[in-house]
C-alpha cells in the first residue's frame, strides 16, 4: 500500500513547488508581521487576510518526537522504525516532519536541526524532513 502523499491545492502549490527546488516556505502575515504555519487564507493571530509566503532559514529545534516502532498504518510498515517529530523553526512556527539520519540515542528535545528534502514515490512531491544541524 502506498504512503499518503500531499493533496496539493491552489493555496499550497507554491510551498510544494519550492520544496521541489530545495526551499522551505512558511507564511507571513503582511498585517501583523507574524509567521504562520500551516498556510491559510487568514492570519489566526490578527485575522487579517493579506498573507504571503517567505523562505524560511530551514533551521530549528526538535520540540517533540516519537520513534514509531509499531503502527496500524500498514503503508508505513516498511519505514519502521521512523521518527515522527514536531520542529520549532527559527521563525517561531512549528511543523511536523520526520527526522532522518540521526541515531536514535542522539534524539532529544531541543536538538538543533536543519531541513533536508526527500523524494517520494511521486516525482512531483518532495517532502521536507529534518536532520541534525551539524550533519
Amino acid at each position: 500500500m502506498e504512503k499518503p502523499l500531499p493533496i496539493v491545492d491552489d493555496l499550497t502549490r507554491p510551498y510544494w513547488d519550492a520544496a521541489r527546488e530545495g526551499r522551505l516556505l512558511v507564511q507571513r502575515c503582511n498585517g501583523c508581521g507574524r509567521h504562520q504555519w500551516y498556510p491559510r487564507v487568514l492570519c489566526t493571530a490578527c485575522h487579517g487576510t493579506d498573507l504571503a509566503y517567505v523562505e524560511a532559514a530551514g533551521t530549528g529545534r526538535l520540540h517533540a518526537f516519537s520513534v514509531v516502532e509499531k503502527t496500524p498504518n500498514i503503508e508505513f510498515a516498511d519505514d519502521l522504525p521512523y521518527v515522527l517529530a514536531i520542529i520549532e523553526l527559527d521563525e517561531g512556527v512549528r511543523v511536523a516532519a520526520n527526522i532522518v539520519d540521526v541515531p536514535q540515542e542522539e534524539l532529544r528535545c531541543e536538538l538543533p536541526l536543519r531541513v533536508v528534502f526527500r523524494p517520494t514515490a511521486d516525482s512531483s512531491i518532495v517532502l521536507p524532513c529534518f536532520t541534525g544541524a551539524t550533519r
Binding site: K3, P4, L5, P6, I7, V8, D9, T12, W37, Y38, H63, A64, F65, S66, V67, V68, E69, K70, T71, P72, N73, I74, E75, F76, D79, Y82, L84, A85, I86, R94, V95, A96, A97, N98, R108, C109, E110, T120, L127
Partner: protein, 386 residues
C-alpha cells in the same frame, strides 16, 4: 442560561459484558446497551425522546450520518439528538448537551449510547483523524499514528518536568489493580511497573502497557429531569457541572505539549458546579494512554503542572487515596472498543449509586469524569454527584 446544576439526573446505565464478539455488528451491541440502560432506569424505548451517539468509525458500523443510522436501527424518532464528534470524549459532551436540552424542556428522556467492534471488526486502514488534503497535507505524509501523537506529549512532558517512565507506568499498574476485582474487565492479572517497561515499545516513550486495550463492547446511560428521576424512585446521579473545550487536531498546531484543553473544560465544569478540585471524591479519567491521565490530572488542577508524576506515584489515585481514579480498570485494563467516554460516565454513575461491578468506593459524594478525544484534541469534563 446558567448551567442547570443538579437539575438533570442519570437514572440508568449499562455496560456490555462483551469484550470479544466476533461476528456481532456494533449496532446490535448498541441496541443491547440501550435496552439494558433503560431497564436499569425502569423506562422503555417508547419513553425515549432524545438520543445521542457517534458511530462513524469503520469499527462502529455507521458512517457520516451515524445518528440517523443508529436511531433507525433502534426504530426511534427522537425530537432531540446530538452526534457531536470529538473522538473518544464525545459521549461526555453528549451528556452535557443533553443536560441543557432536558433542563430547557426540549427533551425528557435522553439515551446516550456507544458500541464498536474494536477488536474483531478491524478493517485494514489508517488510524489518522484526517486525510492528506487541506491542513492534513502537512502532517499525514509523515505517518502520525494515534499512539505516536500522544507519545509526542509524553516526551515533551518528560523533557520539561523530568517525568519518568516509571511514573507513567504507575497509572497502568493502578488501573490493572482496579480491574482485578471487576469480573467484566478484559485483563485482570496484576502487573508491575517493570512489566510495563518491559512490554514492547509501540512509539517511544510509550510501551504497549501504556496503551489502552482493544475490545468489542458498548455502553449506554439514560438521563432525565430531577423531577422525573424522583418520580421514578430509582437510584440517580445528578449532573452538577459540565465544560467542554476544543484544542487542535494537527499536532503541529498544539500550543503546549505538556497540557490539554482540559484546563478549560475543567475550569468550566468546576465553575458551573461551584466546586473545587478538593471537593471531588473520585474521578474517571479517560486513559487512552498513561500520559493522557497524567496530563488531565494536572490540567484539572488535582495537582500542579509538572507534579503529575509524583501525584500518581504517591498512591493518590488508588482506592483510599486522595483521588481514586478509573475504579473499573479503565481503558487501560477493562474496556476500550475505540472510544471510552461513555464508560467514564457509566462508572461514575455506578460509584455514586453503589452499583460498581468491581472496586466500590465507600459512599463517594462526587465523581468527576473527563475525556480527551482525537490526538489530545478536544476535552469534555462533567461533575456528577448524589
Amino acid at each position: 442560561m446558567a448551567f442547570p446544576a443538579g437539575e438533570v439526573a442519570i437514572v440508568g446505565a449499562y455496560e456490555s459484558p462483551l469484550r470479544k464478539a466476533p461476528g456481532v455488528h456494533p449496532f446490535a451491541i448498541q441496541a443491547d446497551c440501550v435496552l439494558g440502560a433503560l431497564a436499569d432506569a425502569g423506562l422503555e424505548l417508547g419513553d425515549v425522546d432524545g438520543f445521542a451517539t457517534a458511530a462513524s468509525f469503520p469499527t462502529e458500523g455507521g458512517m457520516q450520518m451515524s445518528i440517523s443510522e443508529v436511531a433507525e436501527y433502534l426504530g426511534i424518532h427522537p425530537r432531540w439528538f446530538d452526534s457531536t464528534d470529538i473522538g473518544g470524549a464525545a459521549f461526555i459532551t453528549h451528556a452535557g448537551h443533553a443536560a441543557l436540552a432536558i433542563a430547557a424542556g426540549v427533551a425528557d428522556v435522553v439515551v446516550v449510547s456507544y458500541a464498536a467492534a474494536g477488536y474483531s471488526g478491524v478493517i485494514p486502514g489508517p488510524d489518522y483523524a484526517t486525510n492528506a488534503a487541506g491542513p492534513g497535507q502537512f502532517e499525514i505524509p509523515y505517518g502520525p499514528s494515534t499512539v505516536s501523537t500522544y507519545a509526542l506529549a509524553a516526551e515533551r512532558h518528560m523533557h520539561r518536568y523530568g517525568t519518568t517512565l516509571e511514573q507513567l507506568a504507575a497509572i497502568a499498574v493502578q488501573c490493572r489493580a482496579n480491574a482485578g476485582s471487576n469480573p467484566q474487565a478484559r485483563f485482570r492479572d496484576p502487573i508491575t511497573v517493570e512489566d510495563v517497561l518491559s512490554s514492547p515499545m509501540v512509539a517511544t516513550p510509550l510501551h504497549r502497557l501504556d496503551c489502552c486495550i482493544v475490545s468489542d463492547s458498548g455502553g449506554a446511560f439514560v438521563m432525565t429531569s430531577r423531577r422525573r428521576a424522583e418520580a421514578l424512585g430509582r437510584r440517580a446521579a445528578y449532573v452538577l457541572g459540565f465544560g467542554e473545550a476544543l484544542g487542535q487536531l494537527s499536532m503541529n498546531q498544539m500550543e503546549d505539549f505538556t497540557t490539554t484543553a482540559a484546563v478549560h473544560s475543567g475550569a468550566r465544569a468546576f465553575a458551573s458546579a461551584g466546586l473545587r478540585p478538593e471537593e471531588i471524591d473520585c474521578a474517571q479519567i479517560y486513559d487512552s494512554f498513561t500520559i493522557t491521565v497524567l496530563l488531565t490530572l494536572e490540567a484539572l488542577g488535582f495537582c500542579a503542572p509538572g507534579e503529575g508524576g509524583a501525584f500518581v506515584e504517591s498512591g493518590a489515585i488508588a482506592p483510599g487515596g486522595r483521588l481514586p481514579i478509573n475504579t473499573d480498570g479503565g481503558g487501560l485494563s477493562s474496556n476500550h472498543p475505540g472510544r471510552r467516554g461513555v464508560f467514564t460516565v457509566i462508572e461514575a454513575y455506578r460509584q455514586l449509586t453503589g452499583t460498581a461491578p468491581g472496586v466500590q468506593l465507600p459512599d463517594p459524594r462526587t465523581c468527576l469524569v473527563s475525556g480527551t478525544g482525537g490526538s489530545l484534541s478536544a476535552t469534555a469534563t462533567m461533575i456528577l454527584g448524589r
